[in-house]
Symmetry: C2
Subunit: 278 residues, 2 copies
């Protein structure tokens, strides 16, 4: 599955067993769509990585990462792979043992190329069915929003179903608020307002989510980032999930409720198509 | 720092970069005290690993792990290292990409030998000062109790202080309940009853904690596992932290409160000494 990998700028496919990314999930990652050798939403991915590094107090050499990423992309294109999924990992490296992060720790930068996943065209066109996960997201403001390596909640949630009828799962937090999908963010449309859950207690603030919020504002669409109760989804006019790899998937089924992809969903899908064709 | 390491029974010091232990913290670990080539509390460590594997639905070949661990211990003793800290890691391996754990995933077993950490003798004798962490533990019953690889909360909590005056930090959950130390469990004594926080919402159920609860019952000491409010610590007659590597450290200072190591703490320290001299 792994097409290529670099560790700290060198073509290496392994990591020392004492790396803190493995030991504690002490690190961050980004999963990036690469088409024609170009990265979509590069600023968004970079901003989230920088924010995560600040929250984890992880030294991040942005220039080195950018230079390496450019070189890695060029190598993939040269190898006849202009389209793939790029995974960027940043770990705190190997210093020390025990939870205390030591100042002498030298972070490791990993670049991994995976084949792009191909999703059925009908997911974007007709919409998907959402599995309602029993797994709940715990609350932790100190880790909310960033894409850190502690993702067991997502693994447990995604392990709940293997019925291919469900393309994604809906995650609530332990207090029953709607948060996101297992690998996506969620938007609803209610009375013409584009609503998405606040992610200050838990959840991953997606790069596509940020793009859509910004685009909607530019287009004059009313936007709200707020707490969302489960019942509100039943009353929504439109519902969709999104991420930077799949774009927007309308939701056509959740529990007993059926939805039809609506005007605003289609309009935002158009914005994503424009972004990707740039 | 790393003295020796095996991956799946072979002397290897690296792990494939696409291992799910690194990607998502999708795995478990145990940190085990080895003295004179022997593992203390081996049943307790194994039971927690088995319970964790059940909760994560991670196939665990206990016989293979035991056989490997025995061989690894023998190798360390033969290399003149009868005393060290053994870290056992179990990851879900490399299958698939994305959160879904696939049935074809072949878990990896890692055995790492680190030098034993040497702690000041006064920690056990006179007690320690506890730093009161601002980092709170999120609640997640689906992950509570087990020793999984998602440990960013502990990393953030332990990063709060580097004043060597504090040997450990006190962790509350997001609702303000007392849970544990960053690397230890916590007990208090109140009116002759040995009390320790329930760990069904968050926290790691330590192997030494289980040993002490069982020993106390055998010795006719009243024991309670229940929710503990922060204020109760001020009213406690004795307070101590414990883990399977350091044994018992009395707490002599927490905030403005001062404690003296009490009779029950000393008695249980005696039990640990007996255990370790067996």
């Amino acid at each position: 599955m792994l097409l290529a990998s670099w560790v700290d700028g060198k073509p290496v496919a392994v990591l020392p067993v004492d790396d803190r990314g493995l030991a504690y999930g002490d690190g961050l990652f980004e999963t990036v769509r690469v088409r024609a050798g170009r990265v979509a939403l590069v600023d968004g991915h970079l901003q989230r990585l920088v924010r995560g590094a600040e929250m984890l107090r992880l030294p991040l050499d942005v220039e080195a990462l950018l230079a390496e990423t450019r070189a890695f992309l060029a190598e993939q294109v040269a190898a006849g792979r202009p389209d793939f999924t790029l995974k960027i990992l940043l770990t705190r490296g190997s210093a020390g043992r025990g939870y205390q992060p030591l100042p002498e720790a030298v972070p490791r930068r990993l670049l991994l190329a995976f084949p792009s996943r191909v999703w059925p065209a009908e997911y974007s066109r007709d919409g998907i069915a959402l599995h309602e996960c029993r797994t709940r997201l715990g609350l932790n403001p100190a880790l909310a929003g960033i894409k850190h390596l502690n993702r067991l909640e997502q693994v447990l949630a995604r392990a709940e179903w293997d019925d291919p009828r469900y393309a994604e799962g809906l995650l609530l937090d332990i207090d029953g608020r709607v948060i996101e999908g297992t690998m996506s963010n969620l938007f609803l449309v209610h009375d013409g307002v584009l609503v998405t859950p606040r992610l200050h207690r838990c959840g991953v603030a997606g790069v596509m989510r940020s793009f859509l919020l910004a685009r909607a504002l530019t287009l004059g669409i009313a936007v709200a980032e707020r707490d969302v109760a489960r019942e509100e989804l039943d009353g929504a006019d439109e519902l969709f999930v999104c991420n930077s790899n799949v774009g927007i998937w309308p939701v056509r089924e959740l529990g007993s409720r059926r939805y039809t992809p609506g005007e605003l969903t289609r309009r935002l899908q158009g914005e994503v198509a424009t972004l990707w064709s740039r």
